[in-house]
Amino acid sequence: MIVFWVLAPIMVIAAIGMIVVRNAVHSALLLAVVMVSLAVMYAVQNAPFLFAVQIIVYTGAVLMLFLFVLMLVGVDTTDSLVETIRGQRAVALVAGALFAVLLLVAIAQSTLGAVVGLDQANRTGNVPALAHLLFSRYVFAFEVTSALLITAVLGAMVLAHRERLTPKATQRDVVLQRMREYASDGVPPGALPTSGVFARHNSVDTPALLPDGSISELSISRVMRARGTVRDVTAPEGSGYTVLLPSIRQPEAPDSAPSEVPTEGGGA
């Protein structure tokens, strides 16, 4: 009973936190807390098989699947706090509270009688006793379960499958495309200039300097530029990370593209 009173508040708090936090990954981790605690609850209640299954199937497989899908869908898709139906949240809270009161009063008012306990049912061991039930009384449901699992696998395959509409670009196609862009727009066909070749550092946050002292736009990663973590090489040494202002970068963009083509050839 000590286990119950220690774990029950943790579970309730984690469950409330799960629906309160905005980040979906945090929700998944709080759900993991609830599920592992539930497994301990099963162990306390003489269900060692379900204890193992809960940890393996739920926290091991289902939650990892959730996290994988979050990774694919995008972690940064935070919930919008705008209510599409006015007052829906308040109504949902009131209805939930009433539902909880209803259930709790019903449980408190009902008389369940003396607890029989599972010592008699588990005397041959929990797993053999469960297997005996599963393959005698519930054997038909167990067989139907196999059909359900096959259907789920097929459904997931069909839904997650994406037909390729265009043929996959081969290496030859990529080269031809690059040459076509070089001929039409003057985009350098070779590799992009590496970072910091003519600058003080060669780390990726340092843009390469062109012979005239200007910054080579092509040498910085697009992501780092968007995050503003590009080192300002025009600043004095030791001044650390400074955000390259858009006003510095953007006027150079139109006329720096042609000037980088000879640099590209010279570097290679």
Binding site: V12, I19, A28, L31, D79, S80, A92, A100, L159
Partner: protein, 99 residues
């Protein structure tokens, strides 16, 4: 060891899950709340198995887990498909049937 506290915890978790389904907009979080409700019902099954001294409740909980696993697989695949076409995982955006 009385069974009432376990049943009350199960009821509380089920309520929290249902509130989450109603309140949250992100479809994946809604799914997690459904899982929480299924788990709460599992706890009630296991508790009643101990109350009555039979293992049928544990078998029922086992079947609920199987169904939940299948449901998660198909549900997340549907979510992925919706996200691929609409670039959104919000339950409010998939409202084409309304019009």
């Amino acid at each position: 060891m009385s069974t009432e506290p376990f049943l009350m915890l199960s009821a509380l978790l089920f309520t929290i899950g249902s509130i989450g389904v109603l309140v949250r907009r992100n479809a994946i979080v809604v799914f997690m709340c459904v899982e929480l409700m299924l788990n709460a019902s599992n706890l009630a099954f296991v508790t009643f198995a101990r109350q009555t001294g039979t293992l049928d409740g544990q078998v029922a909980a086992f079947f609920v887990m199987v169904v939940a696993a299948a449901e998660v697989v198909v549900g997340l695949a549907i979510l992925m498909t919706i996200f691929r076409t609409r670039r959104s995982a919000s339950v409010d955006d998939a409202s084409l049937l309304k019009y």
